[in-house]
């Protein structure tokens, strides 16, 4: 019983992180048809922001607030300087973002030096859930992730900007023709996805190994999430992260992590074979 609860909570931790990282990818993939290989670096930037703030005497919470801001800034720069010119050239965008990814990794390594950086969790305690004890910080992480996703769903479904995004996803030319500045919508949506990835990096920083290359791993998994779930929809994102995160967590208890990863990839391939547009293939609705 306690193993089941622990596995469930571990799965929820992983699902939360994958959903937050995948959000930006589902935006760039589903909205702009851009494959952004530098997306993992937003996670890295978020984690290093927390490290930077802590190493200068700031609290973890300050770092957690700063991380999405730094993530958004890096995202807006990437969109404004490079991606904006490559929306019509998807292959060019793949190469350019890969280059940016390498530059960011090396830039972070040059700035902060080699080796893993320590990030101290804000709370050390465990909480007794009756059947098992679980680290408080992880529960907070899950709560913040759920609140963020709920906020995103509300933003997309209820706000003026959300309506603009849903309109642009469906038909960019017509959205422009009714008076929406689609270039600005793209930029803001991209910056928002980068901010949430930065938040994910900050949340995971006390649990993960904070390295300049840490984003690569999240990038690959987030791509599974978006492709399995269906690009361009928040519910597809949640379905995809539940599938990938849930399966990985469960398999990790039974077999070696590499084999688990391979099995998750294999099942993702099977799903995409039968549902080429992902589990939630409506696209554009919320």
């Amino acid at each position: 019983m306690d193993l089941a609860v622990t596995t469930l909570l571990n799965a929820l931790t992983l699902i939360s992180i994958l959903a937050l990282v995948g959000l930006g990818l589902t935006i760039s993939f589903g909205l702009m048809n851009v494959t952004n290989l530098a997306h993992g670096e937003f996670v890295t930037v978020g984690a290093f922001t927390v490290y930077f703030v802590q190493s200068h005497g700031g609290s973890f919470w300050l770092g957690l607030v700063a991380a999405p801001v730094v993530g958004a800034a890096v995202g807006l720069l990437l969109e404004g300087i490079i991606l904006r010119r490559l929306y019509e050239r998807p292959v060019g965008a793949i190469l350019a973002t890969w280059g940016v990814s390498l530059i960011l990794q090396q830039g972070i390594e040059l700035t902060f030096g080699l080796g893993a950086k320590p990030v101290v969790p804000p709370l050390d305690g465990v909480i007794d859930l009756g059947v098992s004890a679980y680290p408080v910080y992880r529960l907070i992480l899950i709560a913040i992730a759920l609140l963020t996703l709920a906020g995103v769903v509300l933003l997309v479904a209820r706000t003026r900007f959300g309506l603009d995004i849903r309109t642009v996803i469906q038909n960019r030319d017509m959205a422009e023709a009714v008076g929406i500045n689609t270039r600005r919508t793209y930029a803001v949506a991209f910056g928002f996805g980068a901010a949430v990835a930065g938040l994910a990096g900050a949340l995971i920083s006390p649990l993960a190994t904070v390295l300049p290359q840490m984003g690569v791993n999240y990038l690959a998994n987030a791509f599974f999430v978006v492709i399995v779930g269906g690009a361009g929809s928040v519910f597809g994102l949640i379905a995809g992260s539940t599938f990938v995160g849930g399966l990985t967590s469960i398999l990790n208890y039974q077999i070696s992590p590499s084999l688990a990863q391979a099995l998750v990839l294999l099942s993702a391939i099977v799903i995409v074979r039968f549902r080429p547009h992902g589990l939630v293939s409506i696209g554009g609705r919320a």
Binding site: L163, D164, R166, T167, Q170, N171, D173, M174, A175, E176, A177, V178, G179, I180, N181, T182, R183, I282, G283, G284, R285
Partner: protein, 233 residues
Amino acid sequence: MLTVSGLKSGYGALPVLHGVDLAISAGEVVGLLGRNGAGKTTLLRTLGGALVAQAGTIRIDGRDVSRSRTYMRARAGIAHVPQGRGIFGRLTVEENLEVGTRAAGKIDVKRLLDEAYAHFPILRDRRRQMAGTFSGGQQQMLAIARALCGQPKALLLDEPSEGIQPNIVQEIGELVPRLARERGIAVLLVEQNLDLALHASGRCIVMDKGLIVHAAETSAFRNEELLAQFLAL
């Protein structure tokens, strides 16, 4: 209201418009006739901004928008209802109308929606319905209503009768001139359905090979000889 002079455009290296001059005043409906391939849709797309003008000027209410991006033209007052209508099928009817108000700037959205519903009561009854479930005729009504929500000064309609049932064609034929008159909108109507074009327009122009080759009061186009000459009917 809408003034076009020496307008040239085309697709890549393929020129289509060879210098179009045109002026439409507020409240006037001008029918644009011509054979397939004459450049009617290209003209509308160039005015709306989907195609870049290679030469010439487009003025709306005196303001030069020839080099403006599409959304800026929409905000300046050009509403383009393209062929196929461009409805956002996975938005509700009301959401379609709400994005239509983007061209009107930061303004009372609810008032604009109420105005649109006053012209199209059926849209109010179905405002929570997904627009993609509408029939062609209802979608055309919605597309015109959405364009009105942007408080346009000029309305470009590309084949509004295409693929819709006859009773709605007739309704559109009565609605378009009334809207133009009541709200002082300059309307440019591209239409293959000659009955509709002649019924709705006060004046008609004929395009051929990217140029305007004839312009006259609509009554003159009831002359069979003229129609045969320009439209090969």
